[in-house]
């Protein structure tokens, strides 16, 4: 075989050439911005925004001044914001999972075949509207004179309007609503492949329906569950539009903090530092997921 007689380096060169476009795109639009962001995060804010020029680089590095933004980012005030963001993202993800599983199960397993595409379409169609507009729609529903309060008052369930908008509850609704399809679709993909004969086999072996669900259905759809969790958790933890619009001034998440540093406080270095920390956290989680799927011998979905 002539292919095998070629010098290994020559063979590798051909392979490298083929992946070059991929690397170029990733490098230009992903790695390079990240490197720039990392570099900025080591700087200091100038008097009128922008970056303060560094006079003596060696002294700056030696004094540890380049880490000032990172030191500041772990002050208790900011830690409490990260903690809140993390907490909100975790709850959002779990709520999405609990709401999505029955929906995905229904579409993939229970619904007649001719309705499947219709139902999937209904899940996806809201995406054709801007996310911003959909979030504004929630404001109209949740505000004091909004749809929710009007209906509840009219039906006599409550006699005073509830304070729904600008609460954590509103933020949670907005987050769960926005991320729902990212959970439903991977779950659907997993459930679609589920061999229903296995559920019959489980019943045949003496497991009731609940035991069958937890011993057969859940383990076999684990790739979809994990993919959905990642797809929902990552945008949730960086989210700032929803908390801005539905949470008001009281609800600050990590995403809002970063956005504020760039747009309001004009402190690019500090914003970059927090953004970089968040990115690092996400990368660690993705790496853990890749390790998990590799160990399980499953296909990596992301």
């Amino acid at each position: 075989m002539p292919e095998e007689k070629r010098h290994p380096a020559a063979r590798h060169f051909g392979a490298y050439l083929q992946v070059l476009p991929t690397w170029a795109v990733l490098g230009l639009f992903f790695v390079l911005p990240l490197v720039i962001m990392l570099a900025i995060s080591f700087g200091q804010r100038g008097t009128y925004g922008g970056l303060k020029p560094i006079e003596d680089l060696w002294a700056y590095v030696a004094s540890g001044g380049f880490l000032a933004n990172y030191r500041r980012s772990i002050e208790p005030l900011y830690l409490s914001i990260y903690w809140r963001s993390l907490w909100m993202a975790v709850v959002t993800t779990l709520l999405c999972l609990v709401v999505s599983y029955p929906i995905a199960y229904y579409i993939a397993v229970v619904a007649p075949a001719r309705f499947k595409n219709l139902f999937l379409g209904l899940v996806v169609i809201p995406f054709w509207t801007s996310f911003l507009i959909r979030t504004y729609a929630w404001m109209l529903i949740l505000r004091t004179e909004g749809l929710a309060n009007t209906v509840l008052l009219a039906t006599g369930v409550i006699d005073q309007p509830l304070n729904l908008l600008y609460t954590d509850f509103a933020v949670m609704i907005g987050l769960v609503y926005g991320e729902l399809p990212f959970m439903i679709l991977p779950l659907y993909a997993s459930l679609e492949k589920l061999d229903l004969g296995l559920l019959e086999a489980s019943l045949d072996l003496g497991a009731n329906k609940v035991a069958t669900f937890f011993r057969v259905t859940v383990p076999l759809t684990m790739p979809g569950i994990v993919a959905g969790i990642i797809l929902v958790f990552i945008p949730s933890i960086g989210q700032f539009v929803v908390s801005d619009l539905l949470g008001g001034a009281k609800s600050i998440l990590a995403g809002n903090l970063i956005q504020n540093q760039f747009a309001v406080a004009r402190n690019k270095p500090f914003g970059s530092a927090i953004a970089f920390e968040l990115t690092a956290l996400v990368l660690v989680l993705l790496f853990a997921y890749a390790m998990y799927t590799k160990r399980k011998g499953q296909e990596v979905l992301l």
Binding site: E200, A201, L203, D204, L205, G206, N208
Partner: protein, 380 residues
């Protein structure tokens, strides 16, 4: 629990899917420790009937009893029955050992017995050493055996098998047939086996129910079904499609005289459901037909003149295809007892006499579509 003679009783069970009648008023009984086959073409209702015994479908009407206990509406997981599925349905995320022990907790086996029970099950199907493998790491035949071990490990009173050999190649299938039959004999568990392969059913079964369009056409021992098919459908399904017409000339004590259209007549045992003057149809199995150069009718042996259409040499046997003057086609299997060259007495295109022994004449009744089954009928 009443000690019923029967392991499975199907008491006038019907199953409708919308307007479609999948199983139509089937009544049959499976004896304890019996290897019982449901045989028929696809769509005949055999799998639906099996799934009703397993509890995966609920009968529209009728009752199912297992060892005398009514199981008609007992949910799947509470039945003392296990099933070997057509595609095996092994859990891909569990090892062989985990698949086998999946149901142990529902049987309340003590934890300490798990190891020993798994070992016993894998030994039974000769898969010791494969306990830690995943189904994806096994061959088709090995998966089939794991499915069998998993079902048998729960010590069911009845084992249901839904075409479990369908996915195996011909050679392996023959081996597994024998193995399965031996296993059933050794364990003494009632097996209810679904297949569309008549040879498979004949090889393994104590008794066979041949099904057609949701009805049981005939329920009998393997040899009775093969040699004395009761209806044209069963005869055809068993590979005996030599149908003849005759008129009942007279009925004497235990016998009746059949007259052929050419005026010949011969005497056969009376199956007891015909009257004088009736038009009847009968079948003679291909291996029971004989080609002769002389007409033997005068000796009481029914013969009819035929033209030889084709001769196919098949090694052990020769297949002859002949047609009668009325244009009916008949097939004859002849054992090649003598060298082929010495047996060239009949040439394709020539004429001969098609003869058979009166005792191999099997009278047909109409396909069961018209008559409900009333237990095994007397035989010729």
């Amino acid at each position: 629990m009443s000690a019923s003679e029967f392991s499975v009783e199907i008491d006038h069970v019907s199953k409708l899917f919308g307007d479609f009648v999948a199983v139509d008023d089937v009544a049959l009984t499976v004896r304890r420790g019996e290897f019982f086959s449901l045989l028929g073409p696809s769509g005949c209702g055999k799998t639906t009937l099996l799934r009703m015994i397993g509890g995966f479908e609920i009968p529209t009407s009728g009752a199912i009893r297992v060892n005398g206990v009514d199981m008609t509406e007992v949910p799947v997981h509470k039945r003392p029955i296990n099933m070997v599925f057509q595609a095996y349905a092994l859990f891909p995320h569990l090892t062989v050992a985990e698949n086998i022990s999946f149901g142990f907790r529902y049987k309340n086996y003590p934890h300490g017995e798990y190891e020993q029970r798994i070992a016993k099950a894998v030994a039974l199907v000769r898969l010791a050493g494969f306990e830690a493998r995943y189904p994806s790491q096994l061959s088709g035949g090995q998966r089939q055996r794991v499915a069998l071990a998993r079902a048998l490990a729960l010590e069911p009173q009845v084992l249901l098998l839904d075409e479990p050999l369908g996915a195996l190649d011909q050679k392996l299938r023959k081996e597994v047939q024998v193995e399965l039959k031996n296993l059933q004999r050794k364990l003494g568990i009632t097996f209810v086996f679904v297949t569309h392969d008549q040879e498979e059913a004949l090889t393994m079964s104590d008794r066979i129910a041949v099904m057609n369009a949701g009805r049981v056409e005939q329920m009998d021992t393997a040899s009775q079904v093969f040699e004395y098919p009761q209806t044209e459908f069963v005869a055809q399904f068993m590979g005996a499609s030599n149908f003849f017409s005759a008129t009942v000339r007279s009925i004497a004590e235990g016998f009746l005289s059949l007259g052929m259209s050419d005026g010949d007549s011969f005497t056969v045992p009376n199956p007891g459901r015909v009257a004088k003057g009736d038009e009847v149809r009968f079948v003679v199995r291909p291996e029971k037909l004989d080609l002769r150069s002389r007409d033997l009718s005068s000796h009481g042996i029914p013969c009819m003149p035929v033209t030889i259409e084709d001769r196919v040499y098949q090694g052990v046997s020769t297949v002859w295809v002949v047609t009668s003057a009325a244009g009916e086609r008949f097939v004859i299997y002849e054992q090649n007892e003598q060298p082929f060259e010495e047996r060239g007495k009949f040439a394709v295109g020539g004429t001969a006499y098609l003869c058979w022994s009166p005792r191999h004449t099997v009278l047909m009744r109409p396909d069961t579509a018209a008559i409900p089954v009333a237990g095994p009928a007397p035989h010729a």
